[in-house]
């Protein structure tokens, strides 16, 4: 096989050399056309070598070898993923390299209940059962689930552990535990109506099929509104790391509610405190409430920590904004440490519980400064500075102040005279 391939390559090389000879004296256009059709030679105008077509490249594709953006463990220096047993805990998405609003499925953040094995589920063996306070319990195979009317929507998922502090270096560490995808599936309300929801239903428990059977209690109002029993992600089946063959999307709620490997939904009249809820436990009702729906949040991804501006001049400041309460209404950017706030533009239409890409055109004059963003969502919630939040709770703003609930405070980036960007909380 190998010798055959090698000899063919030699032949092609010879052919290219010959073609180069023949094109002497013909028009430049023809020479260019020839160059694209053949492997490169030192004299060719095409400076790039050919990507040799392989079965894998043809069948599923692969990014350029020059694109090296990867997920990393979260937090840096924390529990490694994979660990010695091949288990995965928390892994962050490289937001610093992101463009647009879709996180590539290969780069979507990962979190597991306790550091779990990824179950290798055969979709032909997997079923979803809905029972409890319904008139007719229902068991569906994955093929049957796909027969129901479907929806396709953009939604972010964000982990409760997505907290920024002064020790982190870049936006992957500070904000990489959020990702946004296009999800396809059946509205849970469609399935609950099919089962006939009883009037006494108040909560439902969504349970996974992985070894720890992770389960969360979710209000039935949410279930009847916009929860999706999702089997598709960015145009293909869910990835195993995202719950293949089926997960529940609970738009705007913290990541742990989005049960992966969904096997069972039990409709109940009461709150079941599962292990997941134990993890959420807080001393006060108020703080507990802030650990459910995610507040309005935004972050500048370019320029951001560890990046470097080559010199004074024009830059398009760019970032992501989202809210668990609805769609983002406005984003503002400050380039002078928060003295003046400027309206940013949207690069796509804001959607409910989805990332939106914002941008602000900026001419950097080469002086030291601080840049940051803040947003307001369409139900009037506003992203605030850490000091504003501490003031509201009437507590002193100490260096290690912990914003209650998922941390949605403003993230500042410092820009030094040499163009280097560092964490503004440091």
């Amino acid at each position: 096989m190998d010798s055959k391939r090698n000899s063919r390559r030699e032949l092609l090389k010879a052919g290219a050399a010959l073609a180069g000879g023949i094109t002497l004296g013909t028009s430049g256009k023809a020479a260019q056309a020839q160059a694209h059709d053949h492997p490169v030679t030192p004299s060719s105008e095409n400076a790039s070598p050919m990507i040799h077509g392989s079965k894998e490249l043809i069948e599923y594709g692969q990014r350029s070898k020059y694109v090296t953006s990867v997920r990393v463990e979260h937090p840096i220096g924390g529990r490694p993923s994979p660990d010695v047993f091949g288990k995965v805990f928390h892994v962050a998405t490289p937001l610093q390299d992101s463009v647009g609003v879709i996180t590539p499925s290969s780069l979507h953040y990962i979190a597991t209940t306790r550091g779990s094995f990824l179950p290798d589920i055969d979709p032909r063996q997997h079923t979803l059962t809905i029972h409890g306070l319904v008139d007719r319990p229902l068991t569906l195979t994955m093929d049957e689930l796909k027969r129901f009317p479907s929806v396709t929507r953009l939604h972010f998922i964000e982990c409760a552990g997505n907290r920024h502090n002064g020790k982190q270096k870049n936006v992957q560490d500070t904000h990489g535990m959020t990702s946004c995808s296009e999800w396809t599936g059946v509205l849970l309300s469609t399935l609950l109506k099919e089962c006939g929801l009883k009037g006494s239903a108040k909560w439902f428990v969504a349970e996974g099929a992985e070894e720890v059977k992770g389960a969360s209690s979710i209000p039935i109002e949410k279930g009847m509104d916009d929860c999706i029993i999702a089997y598709g992600m960015n145009g293909e089946p869910l990835r195993p790391q995202q719950g293949f063959p089926v997960r529940i999307m609970v738009p705007g709620f913290e990541g742990i509610y989005h049960t992966k490997y969904l096997r069972r939904i039990k409709v109940t009249d009461r709150f079941y405190m599962n292990y997941n809820e134990f993890g959420h436990l807080r001393p006060e009702d108020k703080e507990l409430a802030l650990g459910e729906q995610i507040g309005p949040k935004s972050v500048i991804t370019y320029p951001s920590g560890t990046q470097r501006l080559p010199g004074p001049g024009f830059y398009e400041i760019s970032g992501l904004a989202w809210s668990g309460g609805g769609a983002v209404k406005t984003v503002e950017v400050s380039t002078d440490g928060g003295k003046k706030w400027n309206r940013a533009e949207f690069k796509n239409t804001p959607q409910r519980m989805a990332h939106v890409r914002f941008a602000y055109p900026w001419k950097w004059d080469g002086t030291e400064t601080q840049i940051m963003s803040r947003c307001i969502d369409d139900i009037g919630q506003r992203q605030a500075l850490r000091e504003e939040i501490a003031n509201w709770w009437k507590v002193p703003l100490e260096r290690d102040y912990r914003v209650p609930g998922l941390d949605n405070s403003v993230m500042p980036w410092n820009i030094a005279r040499d163009g280097s960007v560092t964490n503004g909380l440091a």
Binding site: L140, E194, R270, R282, I379, Q381, W392, N408
Partner: protein, 189 residues
């Protein structure tokens, strides 16, 4: 038409309201799980413990199961010193529970959660294989290690939900979720 008929008949028979509005399935896809399937699958245990299976266990028995089932390997001989999360507090008896470590058999508001998690999530690699007696025993052992219950208390379907946890009532309760509303009423952020 069909649902109208159901309403009429239900009213005539004096059936409860919720049933009167029951709709027939729209798509008719899928099947009805058997009672046995549901019984095997439904592992949810709520705070009242009404779903608990029969069985019993004490801390002494639990200490043996803890060794037999290899819990020691990950959690250490007495719930400390292993690679897995600690199971016994290292803080003094007088330290308030919220200042102690986040340990399930210590901070859980209901002992039923401890039972539920051991049942569904342990031991690593053999999840779901413990018998109800073993789960009652391990729960008793871990609660005893954290000085929540005496060593001789027999835990079963009746006594487990009655265990008084150190946290008492000092934990946040879930609020009434409202659609399209701020995450906390009156909170601007």
């Amino acid at each position: 038409m069909g649902s109208l008929k159901v309403v009429t008949i239900s009213l005539l028979l004096g059936l409860p309201g919720s049933l009167a509005f029951a709709q027939s399935p729209t798509y008719g896809v899928g099947r009805t799980p058997t009672a046995e399937e549901l019984r095997r699958m439904d592992i949810s245990i709520g705070p009242t413990g009404e779903e608990l299976p029969p069985g019993r266990g004490t801390a002494k028995e639990g200490a043996q199961v803890y060794v037999q089932k290899g819990c020691v390997g990950c959690h250490g001989a007495t719930g400390v010193g292993g690679l897995a999360p600690i199971l016994q507090s290292t803080k003094g008896v007088d330290v308030p529970v919220w200042k102690k470590e986040r340990i399930l058999p210590l901070r859980a508001p209901h002992a039923t959660i401890v039972w539920d998690f051991i049942r569904r999530g342990m031991p690593l690699g053999l999840e779901g294989t413990l018998t109800p007696d073993e789960v009652y025993s391990l729960t008793a052992y871990l609660l005893f290690l954290n000085k929540v219950i005496p060593e001789d208390l027999v835990l079963d379907k009746q006594s487990l939900p009655k265990v008084k946890m150190p946290i008492g009532d000092e934990f946040g309760k879930p609020h009434q979720f409202k659609l399209n509303a701020p995450r906390l009423e009156g909170y601007p952020y």
